[in-house]
């Protein structure tokens, strides 16, 4: 790792000031940033640690509205009793990230700011039609995830929370790479008052995306059988040593079926 200057922010306001120093990066759980710095894929001059800012932590459920602070760890999301009632699919999804030690550190804000094409949260937030709240504005998930490791965040903008309306039904199914445990295909299905949304991670050439074909079929009938005969196009899907685009296309339909079955269970 190259030399770096560490700053611990006590508030979002302080972090917003500190992030202007040099070529600074925000540090939350560090589960991606620190490995990237160790391999010198990232070399920020300064780190601004957000993980001790109280106002960024915790899950709030008020009626159907769920708000999760950006520095809430995967463990805290997975084990939050209120969230398990309001949106069990998201709590379950958080319990599938990495391993227990990683879930104790990694945060929802860090995951979506990084927007890894195989990360789980982008699929959940896109399917849940979530709003990403920053210290400057609110951004719809559909406009937030803009490409591989790319988001709509501007320089120095800090995610403070994620908010969404709990869906009537939802589930997440992940087909994992047996070694890395990242999603080769992950499908989050949500049936809310504005219809069915289906988001896919791990597979897209350009990161997370909505599968309109699957959404159309599930809007007619929210049953796994509704996806019989639905063929997902392999166009714009990733091909790598783990899986070809055709294989991923088939997996998307398989995972979507499993997710619908789980959502109806």
């Amino acid at each position: 790792m190259y030399s770096v200057n560490y700053h611990r922010a006590a508030s979002v306001t302080e972090a917003a000031k500190l992030i202007k120093s040099g070529d600074a990066k925000l540090l939350s759980g560090g589960m991606t940033l620190i490995p990237a710095m160790k391999t010198r894929l990232a070399a920020p001059s300064d780190l601004v640690d957000l993980s001790r800012i109280k106002e960024l932590q915790g899950v709030k459920v008020s009626g159907k509205t769920v708000t999760i602070g950006a520095a809430t760890t995967h463990y805290d999301v997975a084990s939050d009793e209120k969230l398990k009632k309001a949106c069990p699919a998201l709590a379950h999804m958080a319990s599938l990230i990495g391993d227990p030690a990683v879930r104790h550190k990694g945060t929802i804000g860090g995951s979506i700011a990084n927007n890894d094409p195989a990360a789980d949260y982008p699929a959940a937030l896109l399917a849940l039609d979530a709003t990403i709240v920053t210290n400057k504005r609110e951004i719809a998930a559909g406009k937030f995830f803009t490409g591989l490791f790319e988001t709509a965040l501007k320089d120095g903008e800090i995610i403070t929370a994620v908010t969404f309306t709990a869906p009537a039904k939802a589930a997440y199914e992940k087909f994992r790479n047996p070694a890395s445990r990242y999603a080769i295909v992950g499908v989050f299905v949500a049936k809310g008052k504005d219809g069915v949304r289906v988001a896919v991670t791990g597979a897209g050439d350009d990161g997370v995306f909505r599968s309109k074909d699957i959404e159309a079929a599930l809007t007619k009938s929210f049953m796994a059988a509704a996806l019989d005969g639905v063929k997902v196009s392999a166009k714009n899907l990733m091909s790598d040593l783990h899986a070809s685009a055709d294989y991923r296309a088939n997996l998307i339909a398989v995972m979507a079926k499993r997710a619908v079955t789980a959502a109806n269970a």
């Binding site: 030399s3 560490y6 560090g30 589960m31 990495g98 227990p100 030690a101 550190k105």
Partner: protein, 166 residues
């Protein structure tokens, strides 16, 4: 450079280190606590697991300065003098180790796992919870046995204490 002060195994310690110093290196090199191992150095193998503020974390993926102000427990902090911690005793009893390199991380992960599952553990849960700890000797079978045994011993122990308290 930063001044880092933290509580390690119940003892207040402090020292100066570069901001890029990883917690595992601070523990091993500044404090001489070499029980915590560096295995893969890529956050996968779990040989470096320690507890920070009561939670198992990978100390190769955390800066020492991030832990400043926190309370850290390492493998050296588990035993009570000559009395092994129940998880250490179970690893010894059930031969939950071969070469022993992964053992400190396995034991720190196991104590965290047992604490998070007061309702008790089954084999499937233990195996799933060990996702982030790799044993290159592939000695998982006895590791799982040891954790299940320790979990039972500790449940009995806590019930015993509750009875005494009552």
């Amino acid at each position: 450079m930063s001044d880092i002060s933290l509580t390690v195994n119940g003892r207040r310690v402090s020292g100066a280190a570069e901001d890029r110093t990883l917690l595992v290196h601070f523990l091993r090199e500044n404090l001489g606590l070499t029980g915590t191992h560096v295995g893969c150095d890529t956050s996968q193998c779990g040989a470096c697991v320690v507890h920070v503020d009561g939670k198992a974390v990978k100390s190769c993926t955390m800066l020492a300065v991030q832990a400043s102000g926190s309370s850290v427990v390492t493998i050296e902090g588990l035993a009570d003098g000559a009395d092994l911690h129940p998880v250490q005793a179970a690893f010894k009893e059930h031969h939950g180790l071969q070469c022993g390199f992964c053992t400190p991380g396995m034991i720190m992960a196991a104590t965290d796992m047992i604490a998070r599952h007061p309702e008790g553990l089954d084999e499937a849960t233990v195996r799933a919870e060990l996702e982030g700890n790799i044993c290159r000797c592939t000695g998982y079978h006895n590791i799982v046995k040891a954790i299940l045994a320790a979990s039972k011993t500790m449940a009995k122990g806590s019930k015993g204490k509750a009875r005494q308290a009552a």
